[in-house]
């Protein structure tokens, strides 16, 4: 299909004085795993709720595969939602929960029970149909909520921080599974999260939200390697922002730039400098040994700090701490610099 799955045209949602979403343009492609990333209060959840129909834009239009849905109630939109708190109906069995959408459509009991159980297989929970939500663990409820939404074959599936309540291990496992399920069913997923790692792991594309606006839309690599604003640089990964006189000294331009910590190499003061490299000298102020890698905080000559990460390939914790308060030279490739403006 050439129509975009979701299209926002100048969409705003104001709550009185508060501009939760302010004149947002957005396009989500068909079949895409799309993430909305941002801190709480950045407008990402409001956008999701407007797609679902729980909220309506105060200005602008929302299109779903070309149809203007801005004013449709939730039950007339071919989208389904996986809620942050799962919102399973406590008085119904898992089977009835999953088959709820089909029941509303009037599908006969035997048929919808069969479908519900098929969907339970899809989310890897066969045989759980007769239980009640209270008998399930957080991760299992999560899967049931997913099944309840998927069974209706929505054109777009909305996920509102669905992994937020799970512990780290389970969350990582679910990230992989979600991605797999999305490939299996081929539905457009819109995933809201405040966790940059989660967004980077799963998404085809990411929109970074800040204060009701979208700062940048792009592939995970785009957003990470080439942040277009200081906010994106800071929110996705560690911000290594340098501007003004120091920037001038390093790059020859006072424009503010960002460089990712793992792109920087700690070098000896007499190391050879190649032409495609930027150089900066400074003093190592702090060394944090983290097993797999070590974080260094380097104070540059003339002001400003850069964080550097180096893998501990041959070094040990004793070696790395030795260079604390030593003078050092930092090197990184010119292509790894993003000019972020502001």
């Amino acid at each position: 299909m050439s129509e975009p799955a979701i299209l926002f045209k100048n969409v705003s949602r104001h709550f009185g004085e508060v501009k939760a979403v302010d004149n947002v343009q957005l396009e989500v492609k068909d079949g895409e795993f799309f993430s909305m990333l941002g801190p709480s209060g950045s407008g990402k959840t409001t956008c999701l709720r407007m797609i679902a129909g729980f909220d309506r834009p105060t200005a602008g239009q929302i299109f779903l595969y070309g149809q203007d849905v801005s004013n449709l109630p939730p039950y007339e939109r071919p989208v389904n939602t996986v809620f942050q708190d799962y919102a399973l109906f406590p008085h119904m069995t898992i089977e009835d929960n999953i088959a709820y959408g089909l029941m509303i459509k009037g599908m006969p009991k035997s048929e919808r029970v069969k479908k519900a159980n098929e969907t339970l297989d899809l989310v890897r929970m066969p045989g759980y149909g007769k239980r009640k939500p209270s008998q399930l663990s957080g991760g299992q409820r999560q899967r049931v909520a997913l099944a309840r939404a998927l069974i209706n074959h929505p054109k777009v599936l909305l996920l509102d921080e669905p992994l937020g309540a799970l512990d780290l291990k389970l969350r990582q496992q679910m990230q992989v599974e979600l991605k797999n399920i999305q490939r299996e069913v081929g539905i457009t997923f819109i995933f809201v999260t405040h966790d940059q790692e989660e967004a980077l792991t799963m998404s085809d594309r990411i929109a970074v939200f800040n204060e009701g606006n979208i700062e940048q839309v792009g592939t995970p690599a785009d957003v990470y390697e080439h942040p277009s604003t200081p906010f994106v640089a800071g929110f996705v990964g560690t911000s290594n922002l340098i501007a003004g006189e120091v920037a001038q000294r390093i790059t020859g331009s006072p424009k503010r730039f960002s460089v990712r910590p793992e792109k920087i190499r700690l070098a000896q003061m007499d190391d050879q400098i190649e032409g495609d490299m930027f150089v900066a000298d400074g003093i190592v102020r702090d060394v944090i040994y983290l097993g797999l890698y070590t974080r260094y905080l380097v104070e540059l000559e003339g002001g400003g700090d850069l964080v550097v990460i180096e893998q501990n390939l041959r070094t040990s914790s004793i070696d790395v701490t030795k260079i604390k308060n030593q003078k050092t030279r930092l090197l990184w490739k010119k292509e790894h610099v993003s000019y972020v403006g502001g």
Partner: protein, 276 residues
């Protein structure tokens, strides 16, 4: 069956004087109720002699067949049922409005609803009496019902809103998201979830109405509800044995459903049962 003392209780023990005072307070609360039962069976017709000279069962059929008692009982039941129905509708609507919407003066709603129960009964009573007098409204069955419904609303409201607040916020949204319109959502999701709260609220409202004397005194005119009948019997005792038995029946009619309601509320672990 009632096994060993639970280990999670305090490791220190209550001192003897404390235990005795606690038991004393409990006895103080309960002995009078036992006496009601005892006196239903006394043979003494003209006084409250203790200990009863002898015991008999003959008053119970007599009381049940007493037409004056029956009339007041039916009036009281009719009032209580109608007041409960009105309270259920008004209380649920108010709870839904306060829970689902944001509006100016939201805080004032629950305050206003609790006022008739929080202010001394006599204030509500005389206020209604003065409205009746000011507007020359005749005393009828309906003046009693309206008075009762007014102070019953809050117990339904409290129970229902407590249940709403304990339910997942997004349940209603989830239902609509899955294709159900407002009516289907109410029927399939909201009603099953607040069902026991409605039941508990109804029982509480019913017994509140069934027992009420103070407001009723001002809104009933010459009609007698059961509590007013007992009150008048206390002022001018005419038929002590019948009054004794009636008192016992009233305890049974109100206390049993309340214990049942408490169970419902406890089972669904819903904190609030209304304050009175």
């Amino acid at each position: 069956m009632r096994s060993k003392p639970s280990a999670e209780s305090s490791n220190e023990r209550a001192s003897l004087p404390l235990t005795l005072s606690a038991i004393g307070a409990l006895l103080f609360l309960h002995i009078p109720l036992w006496l009601i039962f005892l006196y239903s069976f006394t043979t003494d017709e003209s006084a409250y002699t203790f200990p009863p000279p002898a015991l008999t069962l003959k008053w119970i059929p007599q009381a049940i067949q007493n037409t004056a008692m029956q009339d007041t009982l039916f009036l009281t039941l009719r009032v209580a049922v109608l007041a409960t129905v009105a309270a259920l509708i008004l209380g649920t609507l108010a709870a839904a409005a306060v829970y689902r919407f944001d509006f100016f003066g939201k805080e004032a709603i629950s305050f206003m609803l609790i006022l008739p129960l929080a202010l001394p009964g006599i204030v509500t009573g005389i206020a209604m009496r003065s409205a009746i007098s000011l507007l020359h409204i005749p005393f009828t069955f309906w003046t009693i019902v309206i008075g009762h419904a007014t102070f019953c609303v809050v117990v339904v409201y409290n129970n229902v809103i407590a249940r709403f607040r304990r339910s997942s916020n997004s349940m209603i949204e989830a239902s609509m998201d899955l294709g159900a319109n407002s009516f289907q959502t109410f029927w399939h999701v909201v009603l099953p979830n607040i069902g026991t709260a409605l039941m508990a609220g109804a029982i509480l409202a019913f017994s509140l109405s069934f027992d009420e004397v103070i407001v009723t005194t001002f809104t009933a005119g010459n009609q007698q509800t059961l509590p007013i009948w007992i009150f008048s019997q206390m002022l001018k005792p005419r038929n002590r044995p019948i009054t004794n038995v009636t008192a016992m029946l009233v305890v049974l009619i109100t206390a049993l459903p309340i214990m049942f309601a408490q169970r419902i509320v406890a089972q669904t672990s819903d904190g609030e049962g209304g304050s009175k």
